[in-house]
């Protein structure tokens, strides 16, 4: 198991390094003049020259990349803005702040959003899915299946503004979603993020309802379930102790993918509700053509995804004893 995890970690590191190369080439190698892209529509020659100097654009691309890599590992202090400790992604062109500290500033919001929504959609999605499987073929099952079909076809960019318009702007039942730190004011943290959680989890929950239902039904047809029922165990016990555990594997797989993509920034949700998380940061940095920031967000999100994949693999071993043995 340890060897397996070690191998996965090494493989992920290789992918991360490759991704750094590709992203760096994409942002700094492909445009004819990245400074021009960065400078935007109202570019003065002065600003252009400034960007040229700070970018170190006079050096060749491999050289630039080597300096960037060195900065990631050991930090740099050749920036006009001041020293930049490792991991150094450089300084943002728009705000002149360190990219890494900006990322860390935005991270708590994204984590709060992702974890809160995960709790809601796991609870709702798995609950309805298992209920549908338990009552298979009844009206409950059919209405849950149809409802999840429609809800999973919903888009956040429709549901989000709709929820905002109805709950906030038209009826004034809630305040506009906003982020308060959990440690500062837990109540404001909860009420401020409630609408985004519900909207985000509505779309995900539907998927888990379908997943949990089909996976439970599949498990209930397995032979060990029949054996357990035949030797006199109650339906309830078999359902929750035997089938439930077997149905977890596909759910954990999907959960890993969803969680990692949300931790890398739930872009559309954050943008819709104006919540300044990682995803919002990505959109901002595109709007201001802030390449160092964009590179930072992208590599950070990729690292999170790879980390989540490893965690999911480790989780399999806890759920499925067969994985542990092999």
């Amino acid at each position: 198991m340890l060897r397996f995890l070690l191998r996965r970690t090494l493989g992920s590191l290789v992918i991360l390094v490759l991704l750094t190369v590709v992203a760096f080439l994409l942002f700094f190698g492909m445009p004819r003049d990245p400074a021009l892209l960065m400078c935007g529509k109202t570019c003065t020659p002065d600003a252009l020259a400034n960007i040229h100097r700070t970018l170190g654009i006079d050096k060749s691309i491999p050289e630039q990349f080597w300096i960037f890599l060195q900065g990631l590992v050991a930090g740099r202090d050749d920036f006009a803005q001041g020293p930049c400790p490792a991991p150094c992604f450089g300084y943002s062109y728009h705000t002149n702040e360190q990219v890494w500290s900006t990322l860390m500033d935005r991270l708590p919001l994204t984590v709060s959003l992702a974890l809160g929504a995960t709790v809601v959609f796991l609870f709702v999605g798995l609950g309805t899915g298992m209920l549908a499987a338990w009552r298979r073929g009844t009206l409950i099952d059919k209405s849950f299946t149809a409802g999840s079909m429609v809800l999973s076809s919903m888009q956040i960019y429709f549901l989000g503004p709709l929820a905002l318009a109805v709950l906030v702007y038209q009826t004034h039942l809630f305040d506009e979603p906003r982020y308060t730190e959990l440690t500062k004011d837990p109540v404001a943290w909860f009420t401020g993020l409630m609408i985004p959680w519900v909207v985000l989890s509505t779309i995900f929950a539907a998927q888990y309802t379908r997943m949990a239902r089909s996976s439970m039904i599949e498990q209930l047809q397995e032979e060990h379930i029949r054996t357990a029922r035949a030797k006199g165990m109650s339906r309830r016990y078999v359902f929750f102790r035997y089938a439930w555990r077997g149905s977890l594997i596909p759910i954990v797989t999907i959960l890993g993918i969803d969680l990692s993509s949300m931790l890398g920034g739930a872009i559309i949700t954050e943008y819709t509700f104006g919540l300044p998380g990682l995803g919002h940061l990505a959109v901002e940095s595109v709007q201001f053509s802030d390449l160092p920031l964009l590179l930072g967000v992208m590599l950070f999100a990729a690292a999170v995804i790879l980390l989540c994949n490893i965690v999911v693999d480790a989780c399999y071993a806890f759920i499925d004893p067969r994985v542990r043995l092999s």
Partner: protein, 330 residues
């Protein structure tokens, strides 16, 4: 599913043994599936609407580019919201007027559907072609080719897709035009297609790799090899006809995803921009405070039409899969 798997007895209606090709069997099964047929009609309607958008707009008398806030200011109040109730719905403007610029919503939606579907269709075609070429090559040729392509797939799957899309859009656009100039629409379209294509083909490629890997060991391939068929012919005549099923099934699942992804990009402001009509861009208009604070009728037109489209397409995808492979239970 492979040709040889289909026994004639699998056709339930065939009392008198009639020879039917797998394609005919699939068609028969599909026609019996009422949900599938209805959703096929709905999907077809959307494509027809997209295709005939200019014609419909002409018959209807408005076009999506007229700024009615300038042409007919009496229809709007000082904030730019249509004066008449329900978003300004009237006999002249069937779906009302857009708050702000005052575009005609009906034609805007038609053209938006047309542009979004066109782009998504192009992305689907490009990804399917790439998936076939690379997937079949990896599976059939094996060895070093397989290793290389599989690693590329692993690598591309690790890239956060949505983030990559929005990050690379400006870069790809800047390849064609200087950031100081106005970006022509076709450049944006090409950029949208190419970034989605770049990260879209891997799932199909992986599936086709697996399928052709299994096919390679089958006797009929071996027979073709023994009789001296060159690899190109084996791939064309023996492998490709047997991977049509996964391609069709995957394509029906992929297209709605591309539609929502493209709409998401336009929603975030990195896809098509005004005045080019686009489905997703209508959502970003609907998310402005002008709409949310006053009359929310406008947001239902893009919203509900997209839900109908996606639901119909997903149901169609399920039916196509069931028709091809009746063994898998839902």
């Amino acid at each position: 599913m492979v040709d040889g798997d289909q026994e004639p007895a699998a056709a339930p209606e065939a009392k008198v043994p009639v020879g039917r090709s797998p394609g005919q069997l699939m068609w028969l099964r599909f026609k019996r599936d009422r949900t599938g047929v209805i959703s096929a009609y709905v999907v077809l309607l959307f494509f027809l609407v997209g295709l005939l958008a200019p014609l419909i707009a002409k018959l209807y008398g408005n076009n999506p580019y007229t700024v009615y806030a300038d042409e007919r200011p009496e229809l709007f109040d000082s904030a730019g919201v249509p004066v008449q109730p329900n978003g300004g719905i009237s006999g002249e403007f069937w779906f009302g007027l857009e708050p702000g610029n005052g575009y005609d919503v009906f034609t805007k939606l038609l053209y938006g559907i047309r542009n979004s579907l066109g782009i998504s269709l192009a992305v689907t075609l490009a990804t399917v072609l790439t998936g076939i070429v690379l997937g079949v090559a990896a599976g059939y040729l094996g060895g070093r080719t397989d290793f290389l392509i599989s690693r590329v797939i692993d690598f591309l799957l690790a890239i956060p897709a949505q983030l990559f899309f929005i990050a690379s859009m400006p870069v790809v656009v800047s390849l064609f035009v200087s950031p100081r100039d106005e970006t022509p629409v076709y450049v944006r379209v090409v950029a949208l297609i190419s970034v989605q294509w770049f990260l879209g083909w891997m799932s199909l490629g992986r599936i086709l790799r697996g399928t052709s890997l299994a096919l390679r060991e089958r006797e009929f391939i071996e027979a073709a090899k023994v009789s001296g068929a060159p690899p190109g012919r084996i791939i064309r005549k023996e492998i490709l006809p047997n991977v049509v099923t996964p391609i069709l099934v995957q394509a029906t699942y992929m297209l709605p995803n591309f539609v929502t992804a493209e709409a998401g990009l336009s929603f975030l402001g990195v896809g098509l921009v005004e005045p080019t009509p686009d489905w997703g861009q209508m959502f970003s208009k609907a998310a402005t405070e002008l709409v949310m604070q006053n009359d929310i009728t406008y947001m239902f037109f893009p919203g509900v039409s997209m839900i109908i489209f996606i639901v119909a397409f997903n149901l169609l995808g399920d039916s196509v899969r069931d028709a091809f492979d009746p063994k898998t239970a839902r």
